[in-house]
Chain length 155, copies 2
DNA sequence: GTTGAAAGACCTAGTGA
DNA sequence: TCACTAGGTCTTTCAAC
């Protein structure tokens, strides 16, 4: 597949790095049968042109204090630009909110919320989320088990 | 906060790495006022003990061929172990499915599905997802805009 | 676009304090 | 935990193909 000025080598590099960014250039050049200079130059370009946004460590949330993940569907009173912007700006400030998407369909926003347990979620809901203006309803669903959870897009 | 045999230095390292794993040990030791030997030893331990699962590159999906993200709620016919296991095993094989969670509430599974556009989503739905056994309903919601999307847990 | 080499930076393990 | 050392590895640059 050729895409957006990327050739197969670029795609292959992205595939590898989005699964394991600890690979060295040397390891990648062996896998792809290119020279290390080529790999280095390609990766630099992929970063400079914004294909690679950042590299992050993925932590084990069950060993940390964030074992409860909730998905909350939020419906707002109205859909003026001001109401939408205010909600987006304020909800993004909460560290418990890992993701906030505006959605199509029967609700306005979908939030992914990470807390330690149901008490902590309740505190977040009552003291933070529910204090934001113009919220009509919040409906929450909780993760029972995680079958698959990757950050890699299909390329 | 002290947690799971982690002291403040460990927590600080995790906070940094889950936002930017390209930091060198040297940079981290400056930020935290510790020696580079200490930082190296701590990170090694955090990996060995499974607090750090892996490091990955986060790509810009809008510049790649995955600009449409759907969240799909799946309800199954029955909840026998066999039905649940089969669904989880089969749905995890699809590269379009980035996340699969079993959930509390009015549906059984929540999927995050990445495709290039609505046509590709439709093809995935008809040719892959809907062919799995024991599915009663699938209700899908699509991402209009992304206000916040981080992989870092609140620590 | 690709290569190979050279210089510099970094990682890693070890020591003694 | 720190400071220091030293060998090995990796990154980064650059001239040349």
């Amino acid at each position: 597949m050729v895409l957006n000025n990327l050739d197969q080598t670029d795609i292959d590099i992205l595939k590898l790095l989005q699964k394991d960014a600890s690979l060295t250039n040397k390891e990648i050049c062996y896998k792809l049968n290119k020279s290390i200079g080529t790999i280095h130059q390609r990766i630099q370009r992929l970063k400079d042109e914004g294909f690679i946004l950042r590299t992050v460590a993925i932590l084990n949330r069950k060993k940390l204090n964030t074992s409860l993940i909730a998905f909350s569907q939020v419906l707002l009173n109205d859909h003026t630009a001001d109401t939408l912007n205010t909600f987006e700006r304020e909800v993004a400030k909460f560290p418990e909110v890992m993701e906030c998407f505006q959605m199509t369909g029967t609700f306005d926003f979908l939030l992914r919320i990470a807390t330690s347990d149901m008490d902590a979620y309740h505190a977040f809901y009552r003291n933070k989320l529910a204090t934001l203006p113009n919220i009509t309803t919040v409906q929450s669903f909780f993760v029972l088990s995680e079958t698959k959870s990757i950050t890699a897009y299909p390329l």
